[in-house]
Subunit: 259 residues, 2 copies
């Protein structure tokens, strides 16, 4: 069978996350439906990973097997004609047989957007958490550095998380300000636990509000106690930005990659 | 009577433009309703100018008279509690009696957003025109300069436009690329005719597609013939960016101004 990889962008507002579930709209389910209509067969799609309801995808990869005479560009255009406006295929490429969107991944990068203005911005509402009380961004930027390196993040996951290993390597954790009060947090690690980015974000926001200290974070990392850290930030501010693969395995056209 | 000026942002998708009309949702109508609920009296609001259905406002000023003991910040917060999520009051200030959002204006600046990618971006769809065929941005950038200065723009207005004077001074006309394929056109003039920015944009896109030349634009500017220029670009890509007032008349807090 030929093996294909898609690069997707999706606005997650209308979906109950990536993973297919009966009776509710999911990104995976919507994509598999479009593929079924295109190919007249059932195709199982493998996404880079689960996402929570309402979370977005900026450069989200998914792989599937299909024997077809269609060119990658024909597949792309045909799928986009079948998909709703909130999901788009930005690029398609044929990949070696062993490549799998999730199993081949060696890391992920997430972006969490926040606007810390006195008003909720009508153009950002679906993609950015409005935090009204003034945040100390320098304190947040500094505290983010505590997450760098190899840590046991069991204090920073959902109670429903079933991951066997809670030790992760955080390679980047940074705050980038786009304009005064409008910023994002970006986290890159080998992998993430359930709700981990949202809890890291909630914790840094507590730091920005002066309600959580660097010492609290150090203690949560060493003891694994969930109660020491912040609330889970809302889903709609979060987007999966990038899935990382071994060097040279996948290369997308620059135009298709959201920066 | 005390005189007030509001700085608004609105996502125009759900509205039939700024100006109040019976039976249909308008930004002005929605704002007057919120003001009525707040003050228990009918308040006439004066916006900076009409906008077409679907056009957005990034820093849109509106003035009204009201005797009240409320502070500007109380007015702001109370109105935001009453307004729907797609309209927000970013700032409120008391202004001298003679100030009027429209009559006092000495210029306006509009932004038209375009994404020239092989796919329609799900995060830009409401605010940016998707142009699929590849555009020559350098040609567009050069052609935009032809609009600078004082010209008779009667070839660049809607057939329904009733302005008595079609001579306008274009002070800026520029193309700014945000990332490859994602750009905006910005136009600043003393005032604009109906549909003028959308026709200027449609014309520059024709230039970018190689279907309209600089010579065509020069001729349209000198003869006023509408048929020489491009189609009217869709409303949803357009936003009023700023209304200009005489130096020192109004100064908004930096945080409230979308750049």
């Amino acid at each position: 069978m030929r093996n294909w990889m898609l690069l997707l962008a999706f606005n997650g507002t209308a979906y109950r996350g990536w993973q297919i579930q009966p009776q509710v709209p999911t990104v995976e389910g919507t994509l598999e439906q479009a593929l079924s209509r295109l190919t007249q067969q059932h195709i199982k799609v493998h996404g880079a990973g689960r996402t929570d309801a309402g979370v977005h995808g900026l450069n989200y990869p998914a792989s599937f097997e299909l024997d077809t005479a269609l060119t990658p560009e024909k597949i792309r255009v045909a799928l986009n004609a079948l998909l709703p406006h909130d999901i788009v295929v930005k690029a398609v490429q044929e990949v070696p047989q062993e490549v799998h969107a999730r199993h081949s991944a060696v890391g992920k990068r997430y972006r969490y957007q926040i606007h810390n203005l006195s008003y909720a911005d009508p153009f950002r509402l679906q993609q950015s958490w409005w935090v009204r009380r003034s945040l100390d961004l320098d304190a947040m930027r500094e505290a983010a550095l505590l997450f760098l390196g190899v840590h046991d993040f069991r204090g920073f996951r959902s109670v429903h998380c079933t991951s066997s290993s809670t030790i992760k390597e955080m390679r980047e954790a940074e705050l980038r300000e786009l304009r005064p009060g409008v910023f994002c947090l970006e986290f890159e690690a080998n992998s993430f636990l359930q709700h981990m980015v949202r809890i890291l974000t909630g914790t840094l926001v507590e730091v920005g509000l002066g309600r959580c200290t660097q010492e609290d974070i150090r203690e949560a990392l060493s003891t694994g106690q969930r109660k020491l850290v912040g609330q889970t930030a809302p889903a709609h501010g979060l987007a999966m930005l990038r899935t990382l693969y071994p060097e040279g395995l996948i290369s997308w056209p620059a135009e298709a990659l959201d920066p």
